[in-house]
């Protein structure tokens, strides 16, 4: 089955917030001005109380479900038991968006708790296309694929990342989640042009943007150079904001998500970043419109 459109959309295509456990009760109490929340389902599967709070939030806000454990790039296959657990939650939440990563996390039954890189080869393409189709058929909704944050590549890759993502869209009808911070970070680490990367993505397939924090550290593989490491533990860097404005003009006003997974600040700080993203997007779109007119 080919999925081509999402169902419900967030009522406001501003910037949502990654909803983490410390903020569940506060969101219900304070009802912050946020267009949608995004959750990692794996956080809730073993926590019925948190799930209860999440469902109350889902009654008030659009919710996006962003999987971190589906591991569509795993050569040892998808874990059907895990997918069934996630599906039960997804069916309860009825998310506006449903997404995951171009990555692998499992090997022979082990879960490695990371989003690991893939070689961009025909073998990988065939495998991911099969798995994406299985996911979309199982969940009966389109799957948005997020571009990875990269520190390294593989000698046997035969295509670029945008070529790989475009081929997946073409073969499966999936959509794309462009993590702008990941593009910025990967461009720095792997030495490609971030704007050219965004230009090369199939714009009509991009239905969500992500922004998260990263940190700079010395590149141990190349003395004198630096690496950007995807920590989701800081606020968003100026360079990522600038690239976000460019992405918005390329992809239009699609939903944006502010991610924070470490050193989680008070909810108000995330709401402020959400409003900041909305301001950046509005300014970029206005300037773009003025140039076009």
């Amino acid at each position: 089955m080919i999925w081509t459109k999402t169902g419900r959309q967030p009522q406001d295509v501003g910037a949502g917030i990654g909803l983490r456990l410390p903020h569940l009760a506060e969101v219900l109490d304070t009802k912050p001005d946020v267009p949608f929340f995004e959750v990692h389902p794996e956080t809730f599967l073993a926590n019925p109380h948190a799930t209860e709070l999440l469902l109350a939030i889902a009654d008030r806000y659009p919710v996006s479900v962003h999987t971190v454990g589906v591991s569509i790039g795993s050569a040892s296959g998808l874990d059907r038991a895990h997918m069934a657990r996630v599906k039960r939650l997804v069916d309860l939440v009825n998310p506006v968006l449903f997404s995951g990563h171009v990555a692998w996390s499992t090997h022979a039954g082990e879960y490695l708790n990371d989003l690991l890189p893939l070689p961009y080869t025909e073998e990988s393409l065939t495998l991911l296309a099969r798995h994406i189709t299985q996911v979309q058929d199982t969940f009966e909704r389109p799957y948005l694929l997020e571009n990875p944050s990269s520190y390294l590549g593989f000698a046997d890759s035969t295509m670029t990342e945008p070529e790989f993502l475009s081929a997946l869209v073409e073969r499966t009808g999936c959509q794309l989640l462009c993590d702008v911070s990941n593009v910025y970070l990967s461009a720095h680490n792997m030495g490609f042009d971030a704007h050219a990367y965004i230009d090369a993505l199939p714009a009509e397939a991009v239905n969500e943007l992500h922004l998260g924090g990263f940190e700079e550290e010395p590149d141990q593989s190349t003395p004198g150079s630096t690496l950007l490491v995807d920590t989701h533990g800081t606020s968003i860097a100026d360079g990522a904001w600038r690239l976000y404005e460019y992405a918005v003009t390329r992809f239009g006003p699609v939903p944006t998500l502010i991610e924070r997974d470490n050193d989680i600040p008070v909810l108000g700080a995330l709401v402020a970043e959400s409003h900041k993203a909305r301001a950046h997007a509005s300014r970029a779109l206005a300037q773009h419109h003025a140039r076009v007119v």
Partner: protein, 258 residues
């Protein structure tokens, strides 16, 4: 060109076991891409060690952060998660701690960590509507001895050879007593939680077995027989009333004789 499964096995071995040289030929990135793969290696170990420290705060209080962190580092290098929810990772950690030579002087560590594991699990449960004593009375026409009950999800029955329930209470009270004696002896504990609350109740051995059997779905009559084996004075009628009175039962149903 290696197959994808081979590449992923090599990356896995680098992440978990630290074998970076075998995977090096397939990687690119910087002067030495294995130094960049080390970022994933670092994340694997740091995130899982942190997950264990988060999952076992009372055990960390008991034996110290350095001891838990050192044991957790060895644990994640030899016991990669086989669950996809990191909150479910670490069920085997109490047994691993018990085998740590540096903790040999603390024979109750495993029991304490095991109690903490289950306490954390039940404390996030969500209670369902409980049947009342009036419901039990109304069921007088039912063959109770051949019936079974469903328990609330946030209940666990544990035994321990040390008073680890008392020790956990001390941790939860946030008040350190001037001294705490750990005298060995068999403890029967009901661990009950819901929506962030947690209660530890020490109960008699026969009561413990009766409730444990009921929770396991055995017939009330079978549970009563087991309890009577432990204590010939056990009053199963009163015990059943107490189970209902405590709000533990969510459903009463006749077991299929087949």
């Amino acid at each position: 060109m290696p197959e994808l499964s081979d590449t992923q096995r090599l990356v896995r071995d680098a992440l978990v076991g630290g074998d970076f040289q075998t995977v090096r030929p397939v990687l690119i990135g910087g002067g030495d891409p294995t130094r960049r793969l080390a970022i994933h290696h670092r994340h694997y170990h740091a995130s899982l060690v942190d997950a264990l420290r988060t999952r076992f705060p009372a055990t960390t209080w008991l034996i110290g952060d350095a001891a838990v962190t050192a044991a957790a580092r060895r644990f994640v290098a030899t016991h990669p998660p086989r669950v996809f929810c990191i909150a479910e990772f670490g069920e085997d950690f109490p047994a691993f701690l018990a085998a740590e030579p540096s903790l040999a002087a603390l024979p109750y560590v495993q029991a304490f960590a095991r109690l903490e594991w289950h306490a954390g699990r039940v404390s996030v449960a969500v209670d369902g509507p409980a049947l009342s004593l009036a419901d039990l009375t109304a069921a007088e026409s039912v063959d109770l001895m051949s019936s079974a009950v469903a328990f609330q999800p946030g209940v666990m029955y544990l035994t321990a050879d040390w008073p680890v329930d008392e020790l956990l209470r001390v941790y939860l009270s946030d008040q350190t007593p001037p001294e705490f004696q750990m005298e060995p002896g068999t403890m029967h504990v009901e661990v009950r939680g819901a929506r962030g609350d947690l209660h530890l109740t020490r109960i008699a051995a026969a009561t413990w077995l009766f409730r444990r059997c009921l929770q396991a779905g055995l017939a009330i009559g079978t549970a009563a027989e087991g309890a009577l084996d432990v204590d010939p004075q056990f009053d199963s009628g009163r015990a059943l009333i107490e189970v209902y009175g405590a709000g533990l039962v969510t459903r009463l149903f006749l077991l299929n004789p087949h």
